[in-house]
């Protein structure tokens, strides 16, 4: 056992990279859930984003265009979910599960000719001055752009929900679609937009896996990250900054256990890997036991079908 071989700062930097895909997917899903829609198809949207981003990046040679394509791909797939649940009023749980199945199949077909190809390299951004700070600078301020983008996105969503009128409307729709509808808001349209935002973010998260973290295309490569994103939203009790903490915690457990193994520490891997989920349940219980609605961030209309009946 040699714990001294683990440098906490380097570990932190790794965790930031490892957590970015689930962070992106989770913040998208959070906005979607805030509007009252539970989309269990995150995994399907992520993998679709992963393949779209990879294919386009390889064809154009530009990872940036790849990321745009990934966001578009995820959003288009989520639109399918949106049309089914919002216009055809299908059950959200079943539709979301079907979306995952569909996305896994679709992505594998699209990616058939792209196995074993290398993606164009995404350069790390050196933030001037900050990245020159000894030790910390090299570790915290020298990542690829998407790491910073994901954190900026958290801040953006936080500000949007807290300070803007549109954010208020979104939350209102998620709390009570009937009341929002009575006030003259276009519930379906707002929800569609939220669903597409969720899809785009999941797509970006998937592309981060296929373009930066791995980087290559292989079938099913997101390997359950979409499901973890769903757990993070719950863990975060639907609050943007807690999504950040949740994502780093969930991503961190994996990275930490690998690092502990590399340092020769014998750890029961299974118990460590189930711990974030147990913590999430604990958080849920604490939140719901404290019965004040403010503590419970869950949108009241989550998962319920809306139909303007008049």
């Amino acid at each position: 056992m040699d714990l001294s071989s683990i440098n906490p700062l380097i570990l932190l930097a790794s965790i930031m990279v490892a957590s970015t895909p689930i962070l992106l997917a989770a913040i998208g899903e959070m906005v979607c859930e805030k509007s009252g829609v539970l989309n269990l198809g995150v995994e399907g949207m992520m993998i679709t984003g992963a393949v779209c981003g990879f294919v386009v990046a390889v064809e154009t040679g530009s990872p940036a265009i790849g990321f745009v394509a990934a966001a578009l791909g995820g959003a288009v797939l989520s639109l399918l979910f949106g049309i089914l649940t919002q216009y055809l009023l299908s059950n959200q749980v079943a539709t979301g599960l079907a979306l995952t199945l569909f996305g896994l199949g679709l992505s594998a077909l699209i990616g058939q000719g792209y196995v074993g190809i290398k993606a164009p390299v995404t350069a790390d951004v050196n933030i001037p001055l900050l990245s020159d700070i000894p030790v910390i600078g090299r570790i915290v301020f020298q990542h690829d752009l998407m790491v910073y983008f994901s954190i900026a996105l958290i801040a953006g969503v936080w500000a949007f929900l807290k300070f803007t009128r549109a954010g208020l409307v979104l939350r209102a729709v998620g709390e009570s679609h009937d009341a929002a509808h009575a006030l003259g808001y276009q519930v379906v349209l707002i929800r569609l937009l939220a669903i597409m935002f969720g899809g785009a973010c999941a797509g970006l998260g998937g592309a981060y896996v296929s373009l930066i973290r791995v980087p290559q295309w292989t079938e099913g490569m997101t390997a359950g990250a979409g499901w973890i994103a769903l757990a993070i939203v719950v863990f975060a009790s639907w609050r943007p900054w807690r999504v950040l903490i949740g994502a780093y915690l969930f991503g961190g457990v994996t990275v930490l256990q690998l690092n502990l193994q590399a340092a020769g520490v014998a750890i029961p891997v299974e118990y460590l890997s189930m711990s974030p989920y147990l913590i999430t349940i604990l958080v849920l219980v604490i939140m719901s036991a404290n019965r004040s609605r403010a503590a419970l961030g869950a949108p009241a209309a989550l998962g319920r079908v809306f139909h303007a009946s008049h």
């Binding site: 089914l84 079907a98 569909f102 594998a108 077909l109 519930v187 890997s273 303007a308």
Partner: protein, 360 residues
């Protein structure tokens, strides 16, 4: 513009017509997909939807349909009770795994004893394991009002980790050369869920699935509890006036679905799957949610939906090996089938009107 008008009650005609309509739409869309992949669309569709039931080797496939459908039906029946009452157990996968671990674990503890009581004991242990796992979200919901969707989903991951742990330590086959995975139940007759009629694919899990369908049908149509479930689903307020105890209902619905899922896991692991291994579960608990919805939460509907789902799996496998269709195309086809079923369902509950939209 098209507008939807809610029907006062679901249309009987469309309830019966929408599933075949969705299947036909899937065949058309699937045919286009297969043509696009350079395969003969008619032959592909025939291989998937027709051959397993009526083709040359139907004598084998028909039995396999039951084997594949049984766990889906058993789990979906349990889930449908809760779904009808607005109680959302989406963690059946976890209950299925825990049921399998408990059932198989009890059995293996007796290895190599031969006693006719072992198998019934294992069924009980499997059901108990699933029940206990479902009681976690149920109890939390009753005590604290914790959201059961999320807790049951989280517990799936916990169960998966437990499965990984036991299959490489506690239940690992001591004669398995160090490979993860338990003993094979085929080598342990007293605990083996063997075929009762092999050519028909009937084992105890299939029998249990049929019993569950009948049990659910009677419960929902004849029993006071079934009435309470239905009324709670339609109007929780009315249910309270009708004297329904919501806590009791939550415990009953989650408990029953957990027990059935646990039993399904136990039958599967000791029969068709043969052994506890890291990934024996293959997602039945999630697929069963889809089956429950496809079956319109009705026992007979679930029976048919389970068989249809099994057909796409088995036909899809046949299409892979005989026509060289990629596995991904089959997954895509299943996704499409579900989308079409969910989409056309709108006709059951709504009437489509042509005319100007109101400010929606």
């Amino acid at each position: 513009m098209l507008t939807l008008e809610k029907r006062p009650s679901p249309s009987r005609m469309w309830t019966l017509l929408t599933p075949p309509l969705a299947v036909v739409l899937t065949m058309i869309a699937g045919g286009i997909l297969f043509a696009f992949l350079g395969k003969n669309p008619v032959e592909s569709i025939r291989t998937i939807f027709w051959d397993p039931v009526f083709g040359e080797f139907a004598f084998y496939y028909r039995g396999q349909l039951l084997v594949k459908a049984a766990p889906l039906i058993l789990i979906a029946i349990g889930l449908s009770l809760g779904f009808r009452a607005g109680i959302w157990n989406i963690g059946a996968e976890g209950q299925y795994i825990v049921g399998a671990i408990c059932g198989a674990g009890i059995g293996l503890a007796f290895y190599p004893t031969e006693n006719p009581l072992i198998f019934p004991l294992m069924i009980f242990a499997g059901a108990l394991g699933g029940w206990a796992w479902a009681m976690i979200p149920a109890t939390l919901k009753v005590m604290f009002g914790t959201n059961e969707i999320l807790v049951s989903l989280m517990l799936v991951y916990v169960a998966e980790s437990m499965l990984a742990s036991v299959s490489s330590s506690l239940l690992r086959n001591p004669e398995g050369m160090g490979f993860p995975g338990s003993r094979n139940f085929k080598d342990f007759p007293a605990a083996h869920n063997d075929y009762l009629i092999e050519s028909a694919g009937i084992h105890w899990g299939v029998v249990a699935a049929f019993i569950a369908v009948i049990f659910a049908y009677v419960l929902l149509s004849r029993h006071i509890l079934g009435f309470q479930i239905r009324v709670t689903g339609q109007s929780p307020r009315a249910a309270r006036f009708a004297g329904v105890n919501p806590s009791r209902l939550i415990l009953f619905c989650l408990g029953t679905s957990g027990a059935l899922a646990g039993m399904a896991g136990m039958f599967e692991v000791t029969g068709p799957a043969g052994q506890i291994s890291i990934d024996f579960n293959s997602g039945y608990g999630f697929t069963a949610i889809i089956v429950a919805f496809l079956g319109r939460l009705h026992p007979v509907g679930i029976l048919l939906a389970g068989l249809l789902m099994a057909l796409t799996y088995i036909g899809g496998e046949a299409a892979q090996s005989t026509l060289g269709l990629p596995a991904a195309a089959i997954q895509l086809l299943q996704g499409m089938l579900l989308f079409f079923l969910l989409a056309v369902d709108v006709l059951t509950n709504f009437r489509i009107r042509f005319g100007k939209t109101e400010a929606a």
